[in-house]
Symmetry: C2
Subunit: 401 residues, 2 copies
């Protein structure tokens, strides 16, 4: 019955066991004897459910999911051993069984609020607590074939949305109306509803339709382009700006399927380019995308990708506009994604690190020309031994209407 | 130019000054000489912008907004004194000026992640840090007339969506398709894009279209009804379930305008009721809503409202199904809203507390009959001296199609 009302591709048990094993390897290296997982994204990753629960991963024992609610649903979705509890006292009783004097515990300190941390510190009997998120983010950076299959389904939704945009984008329409219609189409064709982004104050829409000046407003977020929004209370996303002939529109769409997101951008234009510089910027983005596609593969340094992109932007005389303008410039040209939109790797000139097989990343060489508009592309890649594999099949060229 | 592409009702300066004064009163009572505000919802409340910044509120001095980006936008939106900074070292320099030896600082410890707290603890030179969120949540519980005017605009979007649902809801359609279309309509008519909910793992959609069994699945969240969703990775919201004649559909819509949300539910049915119990449950919800409307006003105890509702549910023989079933029963029948969907007051039998003028709350007597369906209403109220004022004007009766 319930199968018929949702898309139930549960995470395969062997996949969950493998992820937990990887975490345990890292726990052992760091002398962590117990991980306490509280964030729903990590509970989903390690247990296969987002039902309200606490996931205990003892180094020397089986992982156990302590479920507050909905226990029936968690049982259906997660292959892990489960215990139902009600209230903090019961929780404490179960947790206590796993405690070791003077041991070190792992928690997601980048995301667990201080007051919750403080309750757990007491629950863990004052043992030393180390951040386990960094380790988990690194494990999550390498996607399995199961995960890649989910990501590709998310990408199919994105392709469909871009394809429908050909019909929906019209002169005189407002950005927000086009966004609303395309979001509706995405949702009716399998989008999960919302997409997740990690961190305090990190908020995200599913779709950004940005045109002319609204695409140039610097964002409060760590993204090159996110629009002006319809209110300063949200301060991102499509605005009430109306589409004009000759001015390009960026459509940045976050697909979402069974937990897995994608993040691609295409450029649309009605009629002939009014401003040569925006065309030139697009051509440069396109060139960067093709160039990077031609050489990047497992083992390529992220810095090399960033610098190649920057060099091409310089050669085109567009360096000042590359990845934002002035103070709003961001330091990366690509980012990982998966269960969240901001995963590892980061493709930047700042950190070392190289591409590994199974990584996925959104590559987004974009240009912001203040007072004029924005131009560029965003393409999702899977890193393979032999090169990069595209997630979607929607063409990269400007969509000319 | 920018005014024309968004709805710019900036928070009035006197309003912001008044809010800061209220916070300072509480800081003084608690011996807190400096509050450090990091969460975008509170920065919006106290400074009028969500641009990336740190808001310092010294008890004995003017509040100052330290803006990381976008400074131009923050300057346009916030009446407070502003300083632009780049990087943690510059931030530290500005913060240091406000530090007092052995003083006590306020931070939002319910929401600031441990690792960020830890950085700030060092930045604040090891001074004692107390949670300021509780105080802020209490201040925010009383809405000004400016806030109420924004909430009413959010409610207008909700009324329009319910009204359009009369045309969109059709036999054989899937919950998710109806939700997608109605969400599109809301967005095109002024919805801000997403709505905010406070707390770790608290996630929210703008719309829930729930029908029959999908409305009965216990939620992982602290809400009576939130649907099965289209995937277990999200585990809430509309599902792929198709609308049948004679079975009611709950439409729970979160309006959102200029930062302010609303939260109302109406019941729709095509043809005659197939199950008497769902009709009886609706009638009971309707009776509870009318009953509470007839007596609640400033000074009414929240417990009294909860108990009156529970008594009516008992009299109808529906106590077991009231506000959820079995383990999934929630302990409240109403909740405050504003910049977030989960604000104070909580209308519950558990805590004391009484209604104060300017409070707003969503009153949601709902029933979940396992295996059958859910039934009920949710209505937003403004607390006045003389009684309750409705936020929207959309009728409460079942919408018969």
């Amino acid at each position: 019955m319930l199968e018929s009302i949702s898309q139930c591709e549960f995470t395969p048990e062997e996949e969950i066991r493998r992820r937990i094993e990887k975490l345990k390897e890292q726990m052992e290296k760091r002398g962590i004897y117990l991980s306490v997982i509280l964030h729903n994204v990590h509970i989903f990753y390690l247990a296969g459910t987002v039902q309200k629960s606490v996931l205990l991963i003892p180094l020397e024992d089986e992982a156990v999911l302590l479920v507050e609610k909905n226990a029936d649903r968690a049982r259906m979705e997660s292959p892990l051993a489960q215990i139902t509890f009600k209230g903090e006292r019961e929780l404490r009783t179960y947790v206590r069984k796993y405690l070791v004097r003077n041991g070190k515990c792992g928690m997601e300190l980048d995301i667990v609020p201080f007051s919750l941390y403080d309750r757990w510190r007491r629950m863990l009997d004052g043992c030393e607590i180390e951040d386990i998120s960094k380790v988990l983010r690194e494990i999550r950076a390498i996607k399995s074939e199961f995960e890649i299959s989910q990501i590709k389904k998310s990408g199919q939704i994105a392709s469909l949305v871009f394809s429908e945009a050909r019909k929906i984008l019209k002169e005189g329409e407002r950005e927000v109306d086009i966004a609303a219609k395309l979001e509706c189409i995405g949702r009716m064709n399998g989008h999960q509803g919302f997409i997740r982004m990690r961190g305090l104050n990190q908020e995200m829409m599913n779709i950004y339709v940005l045109h002319g000046i609204s695409a140039t407003i610097p964002s409060f977020g760590d993204v090159p382009i996110s629009g002006y929004g319809t209110t300063h209370a949200i301060a991102q996303g499509p605005s009430l700006n109306r589409i004009k002939r000759g001015v390009p529109t960026l459509i940045d769409y976050g697909g979402g399927y069974n937990g897995y997101v994608t993040d691609e951008t295409r450029l649309f234009i009605i009629g002939e380019w009014e401003r040569e510089i925006l065309k030139k910027a697009f051509d440069c983005s396109y060139q960067i995308v093709n160039e990077v596609y031609s050489f990047a593969k497992e083992g390529t340094a992220a810095i090399e990708i960033f610098e190649r992109a920057l060099t091409l932007a310089k050669e085109a005389g567009l360096e000042d506009y590359f990845m934002g303008y002035g103070q709003a410039k961001v330091s990366f040209v690509g980012h990982g994604f998966g269960l969240e939109i901001n995963e590892l790797p980061v493709i930047t000139g700042r950190h070392r690190g190289e591409l590994k097989e199974g990584m996925v990343f959104a590559f987004e060489p974009k240009f912001v020309i203040p007072g004029v508009g924005a131009s560029g592309l965003e393409v999702d890649y899977i890193v393979r031994k032999w090169g990069l594999e595209r997630v979607t099949d929607f063409p990269l060229e400007v969509v000319q209407l």
